[in-house]
Assembly symmetry: C2
Homo-oligomer: 198 residues x 2
């Protein structure tokens, strides 16, 4: 098949299951370079620095912004999130396919920076189910949940920016993983292959 | 996901394994409407009329040409092959995904008639392996084999017309089937869906 590595961007509203999908991909043994996002948000229980996120202080993060070390970064709900250029470059240079997880705002930036990437939008089966997930997550206050839901409704309108959409059913993560893998396989069979330029 | 049915066109040089791939898809339980091609060529051992092909007399075939009953048809190596419009229409009206197997010449015609279809090109790992397959098939004379090989080399140049290419390894048909299924899954996740018009 093709030798050119792919950049896969996985995005979707907050609470849709982006982290769970990535975790399930890893568990299934799918070989990718999973880009670790840098963030200033508080570490949640069970999260490991360097694996789940690079947890940075606001000062460190802002220094990296000034040094132009981010492919994209954004402030979301008072916290910074960003994708380090170096992370993606190193993987691509090794010929590895790269998976980047970003919020919808980040996907929008990446669409401009790396239009050759494959953009996948995870969507909840319904706004009701998304509300339930966010509420059950416990890490967010009720006000946070409401803010996120309002934002999710806005973000759903940006679906046209994406190449693929995958409905993430809460009780069927393996289906989601299977579809993301199918998309990657299909992309690798495409006759027209595009070079990734960062 | 999407409700719009897909038309999948599977093509490739003679001897590449189109029939074997379709057979393997059927065996794997993949749910499609498999379009049966009409032909005037001699039935090979083990082939069933109405399942493998509609075996028609040259007169019957020519009557159907005149009645404009074919979506595409062509004369290849002295025999007619054609896809009956009705076959595809009935399946699409029922909302079923359709798989059409055609030679490269036929795919070219379908590309004009149904540009919204998904075009998959099966390719042999090498021309040498294709030569071996055609020779082992026994149904063709040595002269036939040479004609087909010359044509295959020409047909390989038409790959740009296709959306996807899948290398069909002779001893790994399940890989080919798996990739074709992945392509279909991915196509069903596409954000931009296109209506099929015959």
């Amino acid at each position: 098949m093709q030798d050119k590595p792919l950049v896969i961007v996985i995005s979707g509203p907050s609470g849709v299951g982006k982290d769970a999908t990535i975790a399930s991909m890893k568990k299934s043994g799918a070989r990718f370079h999973y880009v670790v996002t840098a963030t200033t948000r508080v570490r949640r229980e069970g999260e490991t620095d360097g694996t789940d996120y690079y947890f940075l202080s606001p000062t460190d993060f802002e220094n990296k912004i000034r040094a132009d070390e981010f492919l994209e970064y954004a402030e979301v709900y008072g916290n910074y999130y960003g994708v380090l250029k170096k992370e993606v470059e190193l993987a691509l240079n090794k010929g590895e396919d790269v998976i980047i997880k970003v919020d919808v705002q980040g996907a929008r930036t990446l669409k401009k920076k790396i239009p050759e990437a494959v953009f996948i939008f995870l969507v909840p089966p319904s706004i009701e189910e998304l509300a339930e997930r966010l509420t059950n997550r416990n890490s967010d206050s009720q006000k946070d949940v409401e803010t996120r839901l309002g934002k999710a409704a806005e973000e759903m309108k940006m679906i046209e920016m994406f190449d693929y959409r995958v409905i993430n059913y809460r009780d069927d993560l393996s289906r989601t993983t299977d579809l993301v893998k199918a998309i990657v396989k299909a992309e690798k069979c495409k006759v027209v292959q595009r070079d990734i330029k960062l």
